[in-house]
Symmetry: C2
Subunit: 324 residues, 2 copies
Amino acid sequence: MRVTQKSIADKIGVSVSLVCRVLSGRADEIGVSDETRRKVMETAEALGYVPNLAAQTLRGKPSRTIGVVVYDFQDSFFSDLVGHLQRIVHSAGYSTVIVGFTDREIDTQDLSPLLQRSLDAVIVVGSDLSGNVFDRLKHVPVFRIGIGFPGESTICYTADEDRAALELASYLKERQVGRVMCVRHISPILERRVEGMRRAIESAGIKVESIVAPKGMRNFDAGYWMATERLNAKSLPDAVVCAIDLIALGVIHGALSRGIQIPDQLKVTGFDDIAVSRQIYPSLTTFAQPVVSIVERIVERIAQSNFKTGVEHVYCPLVRRLSC
Amino acid sequence: MRVTQKSIADKIGVSVSLVCRVLSGRADEIGVSDETRRKVMETAEALGYVPNLAAQTLRGKPSRTIGVVVYDFQDSFFSDLVGHLQRIVHSAGYSTVIVGFTDREIDTQDLSPLLQRSLDAVIVVGSDLSGNVFDRLKHVPVFRIGIGFPGESTICYTADEDRAALELASYLKERQVGRVMCVRHISPILERRVEGMRRAIESAGIKVESIVAPKGMRNFDAGYWMATERLNAKSLPDAVVCAIDLIALGVIHGALSRGIQIPDQLKVTGFDDIAVSRQIYPSLTTFAQPVVSIVERIVERIAQSNFKTGVEHVYCPLVRRLSC
DNA sequence: CGGGAATGCTCAAACGTTTGAGTTTTTCCT
DNA sequence: AGGAAAAACTCAAACGTTTGAGCATTCCCG
């Protein structure tokens, strides 16, 4: 049999309410003798009492549970992020219920694990989500990591891409890069990021060429495809600029496998700074999304019930490594 | 206000019990007119009714929730695995509550997110866990991915390391490898795996040398440290054999950064086949843990409530890539 | 047309915790 | 010693869903 407050109450001959007040620390508000309090505590410990979350949340207590919606779990950026999120959330005394999906049928996604629970908040990671998802989550505060669409009433943390683009442009200039290539049409969000980079780099007087990736190609494969199929060995660009690290990894792999030297013959940059980026050789120059501090800030705000909506742009510092 | 069965019942003027029976599909067991059934369904849809999981599980319904304990979320093997697990579990109609930790204070770990819920099962991933954890989880069936300790009453899926070791030995022989190095004392489980490999390789007549990694060094770093600090450029071994891919990635990075050619001057092998292993260049030869099929089998067994304890050894095929 | 079965529905308790309101016991002051 | 206040404790309802038991109403058959 499960140990409940009733087990404890019966054992020491008091009422359940008293046990509850002692265990939930509300013993000061109403008089409880030290003697009783001690007995309750000891018996709870002895019997191995664990509160029943279902009963608590049914009664209206916050569940200390955070829902997480992840766009693509296969992508290292997201799995890294969820790992951090997991850790931070847990050490703040919350637990998570995660819903992840890999395909693009987002509006029809089954969010029931989230909807059926009483959640303190939901964190949505990855941005190719239409408003439909947010409509279905409107009974709970939604935090978003990635790009938010105007008009959404979410709390959004997004990379300061404009600033990163400027920094990238001046860095390439400094490295005396004259011709750059990039991959387009991976996804609407990345398209936007690439477009920003393109503009900044062009403004710095560097020539930019775009390659359009075949529809439906996954990130790493798109980079690999570009490096192997679309890079002319005789007239290589000076650098390939990628919207995310995973594409850059594909480019690097493809280039190396063709015997192209990195960074001597070809420089490569990414965005995100996933764990692998510093593990590969040559390690990847990229912009570090400060996921840890973003998640920490979100959890802090959840703890304070500070749900003021709005978009916050976060600075992603350039991490200079070997690939550029 | 939240939409409950009562909202629906009130709206169409019937009792809550009737609404419940219709919504939970138990309408056939007891008479419900088609007319009423239709009205209930329609109103539920119209009001956007979502069942309250807390109330259901309080009443004793299975929660369709699986607890997950992960040893180290930073490790790509685990985060890859959790990604797959997430996907498979979700598509089988379950959701997950994950507890992850990064340090080794395992016995004192806070498992309350798991204990406070009614779970259908718990999956424990990563194996440096003492019996204490399993004692605390004894009210629920526990599946384990990794090495189980004798005497545990868990259901354990573990890599068939003996077979892999033999396959590795004969592969190295075939590649005419004469001298091998490996890293030891990363963790008890990996120690065991390395020891198995060592024996098999020696039995095949190949010389094996072990390097003991400094205490507390993380996987990638241990590999990197070995390649940079402990590999004598003048008398390189023919191959470095690693207990997991992450160490191998460190070795490769370290070796390449010293100008050592892979696989020409030094061959490297791993174990696990994490996603990165095929993304790096040169891609890593390794043994593929069939995580997807393991997780599928576990979820299937949970769905069938088949909780027969025991250990199952799973075959990990050798994936031949460029690093060896 | 009377009696039993089948049909369609309602009642009420239960799950474990929380909490406002109520009751009993002790304490303290005059 | 009397009485009010303070302290210690109990009652009972509520959260939303489920379910065994029970109550009407209709139907069928001899």
